[in-house]
């Protein structure tokens, strides 16, 4: 008995010390993909870099917590969050109804339109609506019309897209019968196949397309067709969290609001995307 008592006391004592340390500085583990430039990618030195890495560090500073950023493959990123491998996701993830069924999201911290990337000499470079954007939230009819306008040129073409994304869902829903959809693990892979000529176009967020264009091998890639926002493409990119983590959500929401207000998000998105990706409220 005495042994158990001592053991119990010892455990209690160590639990108290751990609890005490946690109260002083909470560590939030954030997962990112590390393969979705410029949102998040693995830089030349093997370190994670990108818009979301900078933003995560900024938000954690505001929340007065210590942040640890880890890389995690995209297709397992939500199950691993719910399995408590980490506490939050910042990986260019859009808020969608489907994801809201299993996880919670903060307020959006960025939003860019989505569209096609094609090679300059491709017939698809003349895709209808290039240079314009339309939002499903504001003009659902206009968005559907814009998709119809693409169809004659897209007919029978092969389009690459990252699997399990709002982009792949968008193509499956609106263009399944028009194009052949090829799903890739990462955007880097479909970029490679676009230059290799295995596919005719890629479909991705404009931020990612801009970053791809910056690379010398992709200088002949252009963004084509109407830029799409909202609807299936989600309500902006936000931090993903477990549903029961209300405290963390509050912290992130406040920090994001502050970062939007003082222009941090505008500054960081202009640095990484060359466009202002501040979400319109």
């Amino acid at each position: 008995m005495k042994l158990f008592k001592t053991l119990g006391l010892g455990l209690l004592a160590s639990a108290l010390t751990i609890g005490g340390a946690a109260a002083q500085e909470k560590t939030v583990k954030i997962a990112t993909e590390g393969a979705y430039a410029p949102w998040n990618f693995t830089g030349a030195g093997g370190k994670l870099e990108g818009f979301e890495i900078d933003l995560a560090n900024d938000l954690c500073g505001r929340m007065k917590v210590k942040c640890e950023i880890v890389a995690q493959d995209w297709d397992g990123i939500i199950p691993a969050l719910n399995a408590k491998k980490y506490d939050a996701i910042m990986a260019g993830m859009n808020i969608t109804d489907k994801r809201l069924e299993v996880i919670n999201f903060s307020l959006p911290y960025a939003a860019t339109p989505h569209g096609f990337g094609v090679m300059k000499d491709s017939p698809l470079a003349k895709l209808a609506g290039t240079g314009t954007t339309v939002s499903f939230e504001k003009d659902s009819e206009g968005a559907k019309k814009a998709i119809e306008a693409w169809k004659p040129l897209l007919k029978g073409k092969t389009v690459g897209v990252q699997g399990s994304t709002v982009n792949s869902q968008f193509l499956e829903t609106y263009l399944k019968d028009t194009i052949e959809i090829r799903e890739y693990k990462t955007t880097e892979q479909h970029d490679l196949d676009l230059t290799a000529g295995r596919i005719d176009a890629i479909f991705a967020g404009h931020g990612a397309l801009k970053a791809t264009q910056e690379k010398p091998e992709f200088k002949d890639m252009v963004v084509a067709g109407t830029g799409m926002r909202g609807g299936l493409l989600g309500r902006g990119v936000a931090v993903g969290m477990r549903k029961d983590d209300a405290e963390l959500k509050k912290g992130f929401d406040e920090a994001i609001q502050a970062a939007i207000k003082d222009g941090t998000i505008k500054r960081l998105s202009e640095k990484w995307f060359k466009i202002d990706a501040t979400p319109q409220v």
């Binding site: 297709d75 397992g76 939500i78 199950p79 719910n82 489907k98 994801r99 299993v102 690459g160 699997g163 399990s164 090829r182 799903e183 890739y184 693990k185 892979q189 490679l192 196949d193 230059t195 290799a196 000529g197 295995r198």
Partner: protein, 241 residues
């Protein structure tokens, strides 16, 4: 554990079985031919044939299949102009052929060693006995060496076939929607990794169960000398004659 969901997942993933088997059998079939060639090169006793075969086996056994698939698909994609000039691009443009090509090259390396082992295990006295009966060259190979070698190599070759069935799952990284590709897609739609992967694992288990039974049947068929001879009915009336 949601069994209704698992049944739906099973029905979805079953759709990938034809492609999984197609990839596995194409690779094993083509790989066997290449492996036979490599094994004969290794055993030819000629250095010009032996060394390239050794180098081939060293490279393809010593590097991960994942890396080989990546290099063949994305690596060769960088040399499109050259491949187009040679007329090979039609082949390498398709992810299916890249997957078959990578799997074939990989299995050929392993299988060539298995076949070589089988050929070398043929007892010399049996070869001598065959020679004494006047067999030589191709006849000797066809009637004696090859059947014995196949019998010896079959258990190891069976493992290699099973490994190939499982290796096809790597083709999902080059956009092939076989069982694992469909599983990954289903997980991303439902976020239920555990159930989907259990079902995917079950499908591979069923496939490989059937394959092991077939290999066992072939083994049984190839080793009549190990079986008990059929019991002879005593013929009673014969004793009176």
């Amino acid at each position: 554990m949601d069994f209704a969901f698992m049944r739906d997942a099973f029905l979805t993933l079953i759709g990938g079985v034809p492609l999984t088997l197609n990839l596995a059998f194409m690779a094993v079939g083509l790989g066997a031919i290449l492996a036979m060639l490599l094994a004969l090169m290794r055993m030819s006793g000629l250095k010009v044939l032996d060394w390239p075969a050794q180098a081939y086996v060293f490279v393809f056994r010593g590097t991960p299949l994942l890396v080989q698939i990546f290099l063949i698909y994305y690596g060769l994609g960088q040399f499109r102009p050259t491949l187009q000039e040679w007329g090979l691009w039609v082949f390498f443009r398709e992810p299916y052929w890249c997957a078959v090509f990578a799997l074939t090259l990989n299995t050929a390396a392993y299988a060539s060693e298995i076949i070589r082992g089988g050929l070398q295990s043929v007892p010399y006295n049996q070869v001598e006995a065959a020679r004494a009966c006047g067999m030589s060259g191709i006849l000797l190979f066809r009637r004696v060496i090859f059947p014995i070698a196949v019998r010896q190599a079959l258990p190891a070759y069976g493992s290699e076939i099973i490994l190939m069935v499982k290796a096809t799952s790597l083709a999902s990284i080059i956009t092939m929607m076989e069982v694992t590709g469909l599983a990954a897609k289903l997980i991303s739609q439902t976020f239920r990794a555990v159930e989907v992967f259990i079902v995917a694992g079950l499908i591979y288990l069923i496939l490989n169960f059937i394959i092991t039974r077939i290999i066992m049947a072939i083994e049984w068929w190839l080793s009549p000398h190990l079986r008990r001879p059929p019991a002879v009915e005593p013929r009673l009336e014969a004793a009176h004659v």
